[in-house]
Each structure stands twice: as C-alpha cells, then as structure tokens.
C-alpha cells in the first residue's frame, strides 16, 4: 500500500512542475517571436546596417512627446547611418519606472522626472558615474516648473504661495513620498517661504505645515491629483507641473486658468544611457545619439510644442507667448545643495515632510 502511494505522490509533484515549466516555455516562445527578430542584428548592427531596436523607459505624460520625437529621430538616424531604428516606449510613475530598470527591465535609455531616480540606477551599477554631465544642462534637455491651476476667473483670487496657505483654501497636490515629481512642488513652496522669512527655517517649516494642512486630497500621483481637481471638482487650487497644467487646459478649454506664482523651481527631468544594458546589447552609439539629438533645434521646438520648456535658451524665447519667462526659478543645485542633500533633509523617512504631518 505504501509504495504505490509514494510513487503516485512523486508523479503528482512531477506533473505539477512540468505544467508550470511548460507554461513558462510556451509563453516565453510566444514572447520571443515578437522581441527577438529585431534584436538579432544588434551586435554588429551599425556595420551591417541591420535594423536596431532600443527601449526608452520614461515617466508618465511624456508619451506624445516621445512618439513625435521618435519619428524625427528615426528619420535623422536613417539619414546619418542608413540604419532603421525602432524605439520601444515604456511609461509609468518615474520612481517605479526607475525601479523596474533596477530590477531587470532592460532599458537602453531612461528619461525620468528627476535626477535621484537616475542616480539610483548609478548606485546599482547600471549607469556609470558622471552621467549628469554626459549631456548638456545637467542632462536635462527640457525642463518645466511648478504652477497653480485654478478654476476659471480665479474665484478665490489665488496669485501666490502665501494666498494658498490662508485658512479655508483647499489645495490638491500629490504626495511627494509616493510621487517623485511632487517633490518639486514641495521644494518650490519651500523656496518661496525661505525667501519670505529670510532663511528662518522654523517659520519656513511652519509655512509648509500650513500649506499641507490645507491639502484635502493627497493623491499618490500627479495624474490622480489632476483628476481629483479637474474631473471631481475638489479643492480650489492644484499644484502641478507646468506641462501637465497645459494638458488640463487643452482637455477642458475655458474651464481653468494657469497662475504663475512669484517664485517657483526649475524642474529638471533627467536623461541617461543605461550603460550596462546598452553595452551588452551593443546599442551604445544609437542610444547616445537618441538622447543627444533631443538637444537639436528640431527636437527642442517639438519639446516646446508639448509644453515642456526647451533647454536651449534661443528656442525657449520662441515660446515666450506660452510660458511666463519672467518667473524667477530657483534650482535644486544652487538653492538646495543638490538632490542627495534635499532628499535627506525633506523626504527621507522621519525627515521634514514626515514631521509636518506628525505635528
């Protein structure tokens, strides 16, 4: 009685394992049909002019920008080298996108919302040190800033940061602990208050505490906040990236207005080649060209049309009717001592942002 039981138990174990493995193999085959074909020629891609494929892991509302940019880059690369290039796009929250690359999502280039997300890949050994200076302007080919989105005709008369901390004003902004992009919002407000109180940190912190006390919905991401404000009509003011505020205006013409405060921050999204992946795939050259061509005049104009501020000052001036170019912008390096310092001071567990809510 015992022997056949052990045997059939083992048969069962084996059957179960075989099932799972065959599932993996089956689905793996299905997948490789789509992915391996374009990649086969990558090793000697340039010489052989075989088509090449690169993956751009980016953050959320950049898809339309990159769909348009991919077209002009493909044309440019074809003209330069005669090679066809396809670009696979990936979008999601900046932090989770960085994490997916760190966890094994093979990106040739990353174009993320803030430098620390790229630095985390440097720390993991995927990107070589010095990436920040690999491309112009701290490797940020386009920038943005933080503005207010208010309802039409600005009914609560909110014009600057000290207007929105008044009691009774309801603010919508994402949580800087779950949305990397929202850290710029916090820092912009901090810059204003620090100016106002001439560097008195206690008062500045109190200002931020007042501001976040007015926040009625602290969404996990920028898009969630926009929906809360625009679709569900919550709050009086939305703190948003300039390009996202313009997207809301475009989607709901005549319902909202953009207000630029007296001071804000230069939000610098970062781009970098993921060296480890590009090297192993032999795509370094095209990946590098992909990012550096973002600085070309043609690409810079495209950037402006997608409501990002071009980092080329001459082309930025062409968009003077769109952007408020007189708005003074503080920068993370000059005013906050760079990202590592700012992260540790404001956003680490138990740091200033947590203290604000503990009070």
């Amino acid at each position: 009685m015992k022997k056949p039981d052990v045997k059939s138990f083992k048969t069962g174990l084996l059957l179960g394992l075989t099932l799972i493995l065959s599932m993996l193999v089956f689905s793996g085959c299905g997948a490789s049909q789509t992915s391996s074909t374009p990649q086969e020629g990558t090793d000697d891609a340039v010489q052989a002019k075989a088509p090449v494929e690169i993956t751009n892991v980016s953050y959320d509302p950049t898809r339309e920008l990159y769909v348009a940019y991919n077209e002009i880059f493909q044309a440019h690369w074809k003209k330069e080298t005669g090679q066809d290039v396809t670009i696979v796009q990936s979008h999601g929250g900046s932090g989770s996108q960085a994490r997916s690359v760190l966890e094994g999502n093979e990106a040739d280039v990353v174009t993320l919302a803030l430098a620390p997300d790229v630095s985390s890949l440097e720390a993991a050994g995927l990107i070589e040190p010095g990436w920040l200076n690999e491309f112009d302007k701290n490797s940020s080919p386009y920038t943005s800033t933080i503005v207010f989105l208010v309802r039409k005709d600005n009914p609560k008369d909110l014009n600057d940061w000290d207007d929105i901390v008044k009691p009774g004003i309801e603010i919508i902004t994402p949580n800087p602990k779950t949305s990397g992009g929202a850290q710029w919002n916090f820092l912009a407000a901090w810059a204003f208050a620090k100016n106002l109180y001439q560097g008195d940190e206690t008062k500045t912190q109190q200002f931020l505490a007042d501001l976040y006390a007015n926040v009625t919905v602290l969404d996990s991401g920028a898009r969630g906040s926009t929906t809360t404000f625009v679709e569900n009509k919550q709050g009086d003011v939305l703190l948003a990236w300039e390009n996202e505020a313009y997207l809301s205006l475009k989607e709901h013409p005549g319902e909202y207005e953009i207000v630029t405060p007296s001071i804000s921050i230069l939000a610098q999204p970062s781009v970098a080649v993921v060296d480890e992946v590009a090297k192993s795939r032999g795509t370094e050259e095209v990946a590098k060209a992909y990012l550096s061509y973002l600085y070309s005049d043609e690409a810079q104009r495209l950037v402006g049309k997608n409501f990002y501020r071009p980092s080329n000052p001459t082309i930025l001036k062409e968009f003077a009717s769109t952007f408020n170019l007189t708005l003074p912008l503080v920068t993370i390096d000059d005013d906050f001592g760079g990202w590592p310092a700012a992260k540790a001071k404001f956003f680490a567990d138990g740091a200033i942002f947590d203290q604000i809510y503990k009070q």
Partner: protein, 280 residues
C-alpha cells in the same frame, strides 16, 4: 511526505490522494511558497530591531487601523448583501434575474484603477450619487466611507459566488419539512438554511476581508491619502518602494501577510468546526 501518506491510510477508501496532493504541492510551492519565502530571504539584511521599528511606526499603525476598520466593515456589509443576493438569485424567479446574476463578476473584470476612478467620480460631491449625500452633509469620496465603498465593490463577488453554489445544491426537502411543521419563513431560514451556508459565507467573508486589506488600485483614488487619516497600508508600502527602501517595504508587506494568514487560518479552522457541527 510520509506523514501525509500515513494520514491517507485512515481514509483509504477514496483513491487519488497522493497524486492530487503531489500536484497541489508542486504548483503551490512554485507559485506561492518559494516566492513568498524570498520575501523573508530578502529581509535577511535587516535586524529585528529595524524590522520592529519600521512596522510599529506611528504612521504605519494608523494605516493598519484604517485598512482593518474599512475592510472589516466592508466585509460585513458584503456578507449581508452577498447572502441576500445569492438567495434571491437562486430561490426567486423574477424578470432581469439573469442580468442581475451576470453583473456580479463585474468588479473583477474592471481593472482596479478604472473601478477606482469611476467610483471616485460617482461618489465625489459633484458626482451622481455623492451629490445626494453632499446635501445631507455626508462626504463619501476622500473619506473612510469612500474607502469602505470601494472595498464593498471589489469584495462582493467573493461572498455571492461562495454562497450561491451551496444554496443551489441545498436540498429543499428540509425547508419544506420545516415549513410543514409550522416554522415561520425566517425561522426556517435561520435554523435550516443558514447553518448550511454558514461555512461558505465564512469563506466569502474571509476572502473579501483579506482582499480588502491588500487592495490598492481601486482604493488609492477614492482615499484622500492624508497621513494619519485616510492612508491605507499598501500606500505606505508604495511610498517605501518609491524611496528604494526595499527592506522597509517588505517588512510592512510581511506583517500584512502574517496578519492575513492568521485571519484566514482562524476562519478556516472555524469553518471546519462549523462544518463538523452541522454534519453531525
């Protein structure tokens, strides 16, 4: 292994135990056990003191409470409506029954984020339903009530679909006998039907409750996410991950897994007891 087989001898009549147990264990290990053990493995770099500090942080404690409170209430409401729905779907014939029946799985088919956005819009004070409640001064979206509503939404199929097959199989003879003997309808239900469906209901309750504890996508839009007020535990896990704090995230995740395991385990034991009592 030998233990299983020895147990098998006690009820040696029905065949197929060893084989089905083998398949079950192989698949369970590959898909659930080994991945879960890697969570613990990945925590090997953390000291126990660090682990404890992470999981007992005040903000995290409040988040546990929010998650527990809302899922518990939602699961209880689902128990009531789930049994009610299963009952009317099985026992009554009325126009639109099939359509009603068809809608039950909807919460599973909608991606959680879409459900979350739709519910938030609906229950915010400018939404179709939220507006009515706003008049009497009740805010639903961005409060604990909103979280509870989202959890009711995602949990309802668990209860209905657990109870429904049992009800369908239930022999009506006993009920009819009870009625003939003069028992009232409600008495018949609670004395005859209810004990039969109780194990299934407990299963549904446990699943709805546990799912509520872990739910993220549909809740995150309707919760205000204000720390110390309407922040749910999965959100804290996300915020730890966002800072590349894998240890912190997995610590809290592990705590949640243990919580859910204990809840489900006690429910399963309770359910086995109930089963035994009703079978005697």
């Amino acid at each position: 292994m030998t233990r299983f087989i020895r147990q098998r001898k006690k009820n040696k009549v029905i065949p197929g135990f060893a084989l089905s147990m083998g398949i079950t264990l192989a698949m369970l290990s590959c898909i659930v056990l080994i991945p879960l053990l890697s969570v613990i493995l990945s925590l090997s770099g953390t000291t126990f003191a660090e682990f404890l500090a992470t999981i007992t942080d005040k903000q995290v404690l409040v988040a546990y409470r929010v998650s527990f409170q809302c899922s518990l209430i939602a699961a209880l409401i689902n128990c009531f409506f789930g049994v009610l729905l299963a009952w009317i779907l099985v026992r009554y014939r009325f126009p639109g029954r099939r359509i009603l029946d068809g809608f039950i799985e909807l919460p599973f088919a909608l991606p959680t984020s879409v459900a979350g956005i739709a519910l938030t819009t609906l229950y915010s004070d400018s939404g179709w339903i939220g507006r009515i409640f706003a008049h009497i001064g009740i805010k639903i979206s961005y409060t604990l009530i909103g979280i509870t509503i989202a959890l009711i939404f995602i949990g309802i199929p668990f209860v209905v679909r657990s109870v429904q097959p049992v009800l369908e199989k239930l022999d009506r003879q006993y009920e009819e006998a009870a009625m003939i003997l003069g028992a009232s309808q409600s008495k018949t239900f609670f004395k005859v039907v209810f004990p039969e469906i109780l194990p299934a209901m407990l299963t549904g309750f446990g699943l709805a409750f546990a799912r509520g504890l872990g739910e993220y996508g549909s809740v995150v839009f309707i919760a205000g996410n204000i720390p110390y007020k309407t922040q749910i535990t999965p959100l804290i896990i996300i915020s730890k991950l966002e800072q590349f704090n894998y240890d912190g995230a997995t610590s809290i995740a592990l705590t949640m897994i243990i919580f859910s395991f204990v809840i489900l385990f006690s429910l399963n034991i309770l359910q086995a007891r109930v089963n035994k009592v009703t079978k005697v």
